[in-house]
Amino acid sequence: MPAAQQWIHVCNIDDLVADSGVCALVEERQVALFYVPDQRRVYAIDNFDPVGQANVLSRGLIGSEGDCLFVASPLYKERYCLDSGVCLDNDAVVLDTWKTRIDGDSLLIDPRPRQPVAMRKAV
């Protein structure tokens, strides 16, 4: 049973850009936030591009492959699944993702990264 979630306020919804990304600083971690109004959902994924070694993923383009939404790195174009953090071009690479919640005008985030996919399945 995971510990109780603690939500913290990050920013307002109008600080986000529909179908695109911005970056937030969450307890010293850089978190890329992608707002998808259709789903009324905000995806939160590590802003650090492990291939390009720079904090840039929030500035990547959103796309879809089948049902999977991804962000393509602006540096070398690797695609990362917004939901799971798995790199679609090299599944050995998995980025941290975070849980978010929209509460009125406010975007809340659970500052502890989610478990990586493989472990999550076992839970």
């Binding site: 850009v17 695109s20 650090f48 904090n55 174009k77």
Partner: protein, 844 residues
């Protein structure tokens, strides 16, 4: 087993091809090969020799590569000439004193230019045109002269005349025969060609018999002709035919022809079975072949003979297709109609400047020969009719008559060709070879070129090859998907047309009507670019914002560490001292790394996302505009200093460059577009490596299109000459808009041109003759883009919502702690990972 000692004399085009074929045959290891190469460099492409004058270097033209030769295990003697063959002892002796024994000997000694023995032929500044050294001598000689005369109005003579003209000389061609290209053309074709060449400023004198060359009064020489006429000139270039280099063979007693040439049989063996002769030095069936394709065929036959094969040489087709000073000239088979009973069809259109002639058999069923001047379009088809003896249509004249409105062009589909049809004569590749290559897994023209080498010689067969490859792929059911991506089952061109015709204004609209899913990093920027080309809206408008690659989103290029570069427009590379000072001040105040780019402007690196709006505000206040360094759009128009300052300049290249840059700035396209304008033929702005290049001439502007530097350089094609400014701009408008309409995603103009069916001629037809009836529309579209231009940065810094996006964090003012600079040569640079790991002093 001991190896066969093989000596190859001559490393020209055919000598090289022989070695290549031997390597390809897989038998190289069975031989101990020594190559004697008289010239100071390995084989190079003589066919494209003239390109040396337009900037190709000896390296560009090189065919033989020393590393390759070493890898093949060859002993190569560069700059060493064989001076004697001793057949009794099977020895060759070189001018450096080397004596070497051989088991087999291959002579590939080529030919030399014939210089008529008129008195004075050996004066200084009397030159020939065959080797790179010859060209160096011509260039040196031309630098001090004003007038040049080419003796000989054949194929090579006209090419040489073009070179002299491009070197800026007043150029004359003196021909003994009553017409130009006497071998390949008839009187009418020759006359039309002459008119066209004279229109280009080259003076032609036919029926002129040079008697002697003496000191001139106004020029270095005076040429005196049999009819008493004279011509003063500073340079004489002999191009009066070639003679086989058969001296070695002659001296050692091999059979040679009455008028020269080493006699060979069908196996390319000389009268001594241990000795082969190939290329232009060889005489087969009483004939010398002065073209490269037959030489290549001989090389293959000789390799076959040396390796136990059975191939034979059966003669070669001497049809030619040339572009002489921008004029298409083709000659096929019996162009003069000498075959008994032959009948002619001719078509002359003086207004269009075209002449076409068919020579057909008495029963009108077979094509025997043809001439095309001014329009080479039918060449491939006609050649196939003749080579494969394909039965002509009931009305052969339809093959040369202009197609009437709406009627389909009278082409011969590739399907109609027999399997044995030769597609590429340079490398002797048949339709069957191409079919097998496609069957074996090649799925593009590039693959087939690699596998068969078809199309990699003179390039003349590429259009035919392309349609054949496509046809084969389709008939194999290989579905070559042209879909942009999984979200749109359309090509970029389809999408362009849908957007334009239906007036679609946003990605959402397009996706709703024609797409599926959410889009991706492929279709979004492509559609963003099309929307911008069509409607020229602000790219950061919220409905377009999500389409842009990060560089367009933030109107700057992202660098490896996530910072950005700042590139203001410096049209034509011209900048005032005051503006230069502003750049310096901004760079200093924001501590930006500063560098002059390859595009004649200044790039400021290391700006953090959140600094961009403030930096640009300062630049805009000082009168700068965005340089679009981030966009798939017009980049720079490079210029040389031109007639304003330069002593050689013939027109104001800087002024034109600035005007062009201001006209097309902001134009979004499938890929970036670069221009350059040079003030004279010395070409200091390198216009021939640009998408659009312009070079000043005495009579106006020459327009070059579809050049490229970058990964796969391509020389631009000369599109039109001596244009006035208005026509120049009109043509550029049309070319660019047609490119935007029809190119693929991320396709530079160079690749677009390579893939454009019909190539340069087709583009000319569309742009100059308005063959599609779209010229006016293209101009209108361009006018719209020009009228609606707005500096994106100016608009952005004045828009609070847009500026809001330029921040590192939505919830903090801290900078990105991973961006760390260290100092190098007095400026910043991004810290390397190991430098970041250690605590270091941050600058900036």
């Amino acid at each position: 087993m001991s190896k066969t000692r093989l000596v190859v004399v001559g490393n020209g085009m055919v000598g090289h091809q022989f070695l290549q074929s031997l390597a390809d045959s897989g038998h190289m290891a069975a031989f101990d090969v020594t190559v004697f190469c008289e010239e100071p460099r390995l084989a190079y492409d003589r066919v494209y020799l003239s390109a040396w004058f337009s900037g190709s270097t000896a390296e560009d033209l090189a065919l033989g590569q020393i590393d390759q030769y070493r890898a093949w295990g060859l002993d190569v003697r560069i700059g060493e000439k064989v001076v004697e063959i001793n057949r009794d002892d099977r020895l060759v002796v070189s001018d450096k004193g080397t004596t070497l024994s051989y088991d087999k000997l291959v002579l590939a000694t080529g030919s030399y230019p014939f210089v008529p023995p008129v008195p004075g032929h050996d004066r200084e500044h009397c030159l020939v045109y065959r080797t790179i050294e010859d060209l160096e001598a011509i260039k040196a000689s031309a630098a001090n002269g004003r007038v040049g005369v080419v003796v000989g109005g054949g194929l090579l003579g006209l090419e040489a005349a073009k070179a002299l003209r491009d070197l800026g000389l007043e150029t004359h061609v003196v021909e003994f025969a009553p017409r130009l290209m006497a071998v390949q053309l008839d009187d009418m074709g020759g006359a039309l060609l002459r008119a066209k060449i004279e229109a280009l400023g080259v003076q032609v004198h036919t029926g002129c018999n040079t008697q002697r060359i003496v000191d001139g009064e106004r020029c270095v020489h005076r040429m005196e002709f049999a009819d008493g006429a004279t011509l003063e000139t500073d340079l004489v270039l002999f191009s009066a035919g070639i003679r086989p280099r058969d001296q070695l063979a002659r001296a050692c007693g091999l059979a040679v022809g009455e008028r020269g040439g080493i006699v060979i049989d069908n196996h390319c063996r000389t009268s001594d079975a241990q000795i082969y002769a190939i290329g232009e030095c060889a005489l087969w069936d009483g004939r010398i072949f002065g073209l490269v394709a037959p030489g290549y065929a001989m090389a293959k036959v000789a390799v076959s003979g040396l390796t136990g094969g059975e191939e034979v040489f059966t003669g070669a087709d001497m049809s030619t297709r040339l572009k002489l000073m921008g004029v298409d000239v083709c000659s096929i088979g019996d162009a003069q109609g000498r075959t008994p009973g032959a009948k002619n069809y001719t078509w002359l259109d003086e207004s269009a400047g075209t002449y076409k002639k068919l020579v057909v058999s008495a029963d009108k069923k077979q094509l025997l020969g043809a001439i095309l001047v001014g329009d080479a379009e039918g060449y491939g088809t006609l050649l196939q009719y003749m080579l494969n003896a394909i039965e002509l249509p009931a009305h052969p004249e339809t093959l040369i008559l202009p197609s009437l409105e709406g009627a389909p062009a009278a082409g011969l589909g590739v399907a109609a060709l027999p399997e044995s049809a030769q597609i590429c004569s340079c490398h002797d590749v048949s339709k069957g070879d191409v079919q097998r290559a496609v069957g074996g897994g090649c799925c593009s023209v590039a693959d087939v070129k690699r596998a068969t080498r078809a199309g990699t010689g003179c390039g003349g067969c590429v259009p035919l090859l392309t349609s054949l490859v496509n046809h084969e792929l389709e008939s194999l059911g290989v579905e070559v998907s042209h879909d942009l991506c999984e979200h749109f089952p359309y090509t970029r061109q389809d999408l362009y047309n849908l957007i334009r015709v239906e007036g679609i204004q946003s990605f959402e609209q397009l996706l709703a009507r024609y797409g599926r899913g959410k889009g991706c990093h492929i279709c979004k920027p492509a559609v963003g670019s099309i929307l911008a080309s069509c409607w020229n809206d602000y790219v950061l408008d919220p409905k377009h914002l999500i389409l842009q690659d990060t560089n367009d989103t933030f109107l700057a290029n992202m660098q490896k560490d996530g910072t950005y570069s700042v590139v203001p427009r410096i049209a034509g590379g011209e900048i005032t001292p005051d503006k230069l000072i502003v750049l310096g001040e901004v760079a200093r105040d924001y501590n930006l790394y500063t560098k002059i780019t390859g595009g004649q402007r200044v790039d400021l690196f290391g700006a953090r996302l959140e600094q961009l709006p403030a930096i640009w505000r300062r630049l805009i206040d000082a009168g700068f505009e965005t340089g679009h360094a981030y966009g798939k759009s017009v980049r720079t128009v490079k210029s040389c200093v031109g007639s304003t300052w330069c002593r050689f300049g013939v027109d104001d290249s800087v002024g034109l460059a600035i005007d062009i840059e201001n006209r097309y700035k902001g134009l979004r396209a499938p890929h970036k577009i670069k221009f350059a304008v040079s003030g004279c033929t010395r070409e200091c702005a390198e216009a021939q490596s640009k998408d659009i290049g312009v070079i000043a001439t005495e009579n106006g502007w020459n327009l070059y299109v579809c050049g490229n530097g970058g990964m796969k350089p391509r020389h631009a094609d000369l599109f039109a000459t001596d244009l006035d400014r208005e026509t120049l701009i009109k043509y550029i408008d049309r070319v660019l808009m047609f490119y935007i309409r029809t190119a693929d995603r991320l396709q530079r103009t160079s690749v677009w041109m390579e893939n454009l069916e019909g190539g340069l001629d087709y583009l000319r037809d569309v742009v100059i003759n308005d063959s599609l009836g779209v010229a006016e529309e293209l101009e209108r579209q361009m006018a719209h883009v020009v009228e609606t231009y707005e500096c994106e940065w100016k608009k952005t810094v004045n828009d609070a919502d847009a500026v809001k996006r330029f921040r590192q964090f939505v919830n903090s003012d801290q900078p990105d702690s991973n961006v760390v600079f260290v100092e190098e040569r007095g400026q910043i640079r991004p810290a390397r990972p190991e430098e970041k790991a250690e605590p270091i002093v941050m600058v900036g």
